[in-house]
Symmetry: D2
């Protein structure tokens, strides 16, 4: 860590700061420029709060050189983490397609979609039982009943299931769920993250709409600090000024995260774009950029499900996505 | 609500959609343009999900005319809500200055700051006991002990206290807290909001870093839908590309929120800017823009509290803020 | 166009507005809801300024249904535009790789890079002669001499060249340039766009860092309104809060632009990401998302060119990009 | 300037880099940490391109300590610059209210507004003659005729005038204009800035919609590098995800700019918010935050000027703004 001192910093201030840092076990290396003095802090700086340090009167700016995440850091774990989900793997050379409806709505709906996407190449079933909705007046999901229906679909198709948790108190209901999803709005619900660190189930951690990649990795670190190392990161679009798409899918996050961390990286093009027509090209682009998985919303019968999500594909459209993504993967892995 | 149909929409599609909407109790008014047909939906449209409706093949776009928030809506409650906090009021013509340290650190610290800010014009004491930190390795607050110290400071100064909750399971600890704060990162923690709707204590609801004003009002609506109408909204900066400030304080939120809702609006210039030097001008600007309160971080002894927050003022600086804000209020209210 | 009136709008106001709109050749269709009245404006609304209309006291909001761009609109020109550049084509089924250095620096540099990228699959040579730099103290480019060197490289390799213009007064120097680039910072330099509408040379129009896709299309419309229909749009990243990348490459812009317009869409992953390591995955992703071209920065000798751009590849790295992009294209076009 | 080297940097690389930097007149101070080596560059680093330096294989990151702007830098010019405009001054203790219509539309319109705002406390007249419009089909302003009408209003009221330039070739038409405005879209039209550096007239430089404060100061530096030191900076809102306001007015820019530079800072609340109702509170807030001037749009007769801008006030509303701003200034200056 480097601290740049203001030209106005007095010798007393510098000595006092140096003493304080040394008390915390750091070696301090002083380097004087023409107008600025720079302190190099050597040792385990992960406990030093850069923002607090930067607030001192004498400090011009602080720069962390080593990343504040350790467990998630590729520097300390150079090999790709491969997460086991039932008989499947995700991460490293293993790529999976996760598909299913936005919300679980009925027995027939989830069974029908599950069988259809399974036949077209999906290997993991998704479906919302607890739904985070902006409005208290919107449908909040089938909750426990939705999880039961997902488990029934898992039984009939053999596919592992992923579904979102919104409250650590609900954890007992998730006992047979294969992957627990943390939604974008809960990425910094630190109390929830801590609870998920106590279990050993795989966690699909979605990036918050306004969160940096470093913050995403720090949230993974919250879970890993508790001992749960089974984390799949998921890019799902960030909030920008552009209004044609619901969010802006940040595909450069894929190669960047793969460089910074050993954890697998999935992409959800459905929620990011909010438009079914964009799912095919964005799923292909995500695969081409090196994602370890894509997560696609599929609904069953557009005639009946009049108000299904804008981002959902029909099973036929999903089959095309699945096939095209498979072919992009061939280019990537050859 | 208005739904614009695509030129390609067939008569069958329009009839089917119209029937579906009428089933939901809405009257549908069809208006044909040269290339587009527009449906006007009349009645209680708050249950219709615009995003889902917009996803239909036949739909070009959907526009909600009436706001989806009801309890928070000024149209239905034209008079300002005035929230009672102990013997104080906030909202309408009542303005309050909330001040205190970022984190409660010790008995002496909180008592010393509380007495000092009380003497300089603060009427409500703030102080973090549970601290949401980006890193699991940073100080997470004194938790229950911190609340006890705040209550001691309340006893000695008579000031009501406000402190942040991060987990609904902690509610029993907040029984004697006067205002419960929901932090920016939990603004869309809907499970927490629902629990806070069940109590009747005032809630200080901070705007999320990437949340629109409508989303802030929808989160207030979550609490109000449960029956708790004692909400104070708080603007604390949004995330933008500018890097000189930690966040960009959106002061236009004050007059906009005052127009949209009857709830009081406070501003936290300390967290928004992340720099003590900006707190004075931004607190004055917030008061000039019509805020019902400002929330200011103050620390006691910079020499001892070496690593206090960059956004914290000394008691002397706070006294100046308090005096200048008071004088701006005179201009506003005269 | 739809105008939603406020509940407070009086009959006199509505009549006066209707009369004013009818004077402008529009038919007005009035539709009354329970609380709101909606005016449907039928006819050529492209001359009506929505922002000005929306500013009227009686108006709640205005929504344009038909897009305000005509010449660029795919609705009126359903077939892909294919732009001819020398013997090459870009657009429709024709994909081109544009490569070259950030700045033209010397005869040897540009010749060496040109030959190298030509051998590896690039078909168009890029190179900056006039350089827009944030600081007046940074290198501003070789200007006219740079263009001469590009023309020499064109002569020796047969590749058409593209280079940026910053001032309409410089147009005479661009007479033998094949494609004139408008940089992101000049995307809304309307005076320059008008001048480029007067010529018939292909224009590569880069999206501004904070510009919506509709604004990009309106800038294309400025050029097309003058009669020049030879426009290649170029996505190059937008400004967001993320700081790991210089900008956030918005690849969903590719399928969206292809839907909205008939003009070809290229992508510049080098400038968007600002990091050479990200160019390969982002170029592949751009091709997978359906771009008609990619624009890649290449420098020659990293040992000599000590301070070449962070976003530049070596010729060897470029050869890999070129090969991988070619293979992605095979998946796309098969 | 500080350059942090990657752990993989070899001694040869470091020596070669050090030699290269020393050739450029810099002293290099090497400081070795446990895993990272840090180079402190001492001397005139304004000529070093941080982005290019950061692109080197061996470099982890680069941090500029001294600001890259010199002429605009308060460190080198501690006293406030006070710009003379006719008999008026702006900057330091001198505050001015600039008012007038968005566009000059007719002799009667501009004369009527000019007289009215002059009577209510405006000291400088604004009015657009050349209008940057997103659409080529929107009204582009009265151009030269508009300037003539502004000059007529100046003659009759004695108020200096400010109006926007879009093309350096138009400079001869601006000979009698008192302040030349550079609009947000041209803030990085470097060719235009260079031309404005050649004259000595005051320039009102608006911040671009997606430009940082440092970029704004670098654009001021472009003008000052040419010798023109008469610059008034103007905050007018930045682009964010919030859609209730057209842009987000960044009032923290005022105290920050006043700290970084000696140049005066004005604020345009009309364009920023796009809503007349927000102009009064935002103008008051701007004054409270320490602005040296506010720029307010006023239109004359809403009944006649049916489609005047949403952001424009009536003369009566302006009179209230002017009076309230005056009273806020009293608090500031007392």
């Amino acid at each position: 860590m480097i601290a740049v001192l203001k030209p106005s910093a007095t010798k007393e201030q510098i000595d006092s700061l140096t003493a304080w840092l040394e008390e915390r076990g750091l070696a301090v290396h002083v380097s004087k420029g023409e107008t600025y003095t720079v302190l190099g802090l050597i040792g385990d700086t992960s406990k030093i709060d850069t923002e607090l340090l930067g607030s001192l009167e004498m400090i011009d700016s602080v720069k962390r050189i080593s990343e504040p995440f350790k467990n998630a850091n590729r520097k300390f774990h150079p090999d790709d983490s491969v997460i086991e989900v039932g008989n499947l793997k995700i991460g490293g050379h293993d790529f999976q397609i996760i598909a299913g409806p936005c919300s679980v709505e009925s027995h027939d709906q989830i069974l029908s979609i599950a069988k259809s996407v399974h036949a077209s190449g999906a290997s993991i079933l998704r479906g919302g039982a607890f739904k985070p909705r902006t409005s208290p007046y919107d449908f909040q999901g089938m909750r426990a009943d939705g999880i039961d229906l997902l488990l029934e679909a898992k039984k009939q198709t053999g596919m592992p299931i992923v579904t979102e948790i919104m409250n650590a108190n609900h954890l007992p209901m998730f006992e047979q769920v294969d992957i627990i999803q943390v939604g974008a709005r809960n990425m910094q619900n630190f109390e929830l993250l801590k609870e998920l660190g106590m279990i050993r189930k795989p966690i699909l951690l979605k990036r918050g709409l306004a969160n940096t990649l470093q913050e995403l990795l720090m949230s993974a670190e919250y879970i890993m600090a508790g001992g749960n190392r089974n984390i799949i990161l998921c890019e799902r679009g960030i909030r920008t000024f552009e209004t044609f798409t619901r969010n802006t899918l940040d595909l450069s996050a894929i190669p960047l995260l793969r460089e910074l961390t050993h954890l697998p990286v999935a992409v959800d093009p459905s929620h990011a774009t909010g438009t079914a027509r964009l799912v095919l090209p964005m799923a292909m682009a995500a695969a081409a950029a090196g994602a370890h998985g894509v997560m696609i919303e599929v609904h069953n019968d557009p005639a009946k499900a009049l108000c299904d999500g804008a981002q959902s594909l029909t099973p036929e459209q999903f089959a095309e996505v699945s096939e095209k993504v498979r072919r992009i993967r061939e280019v990537i892995t050859s």
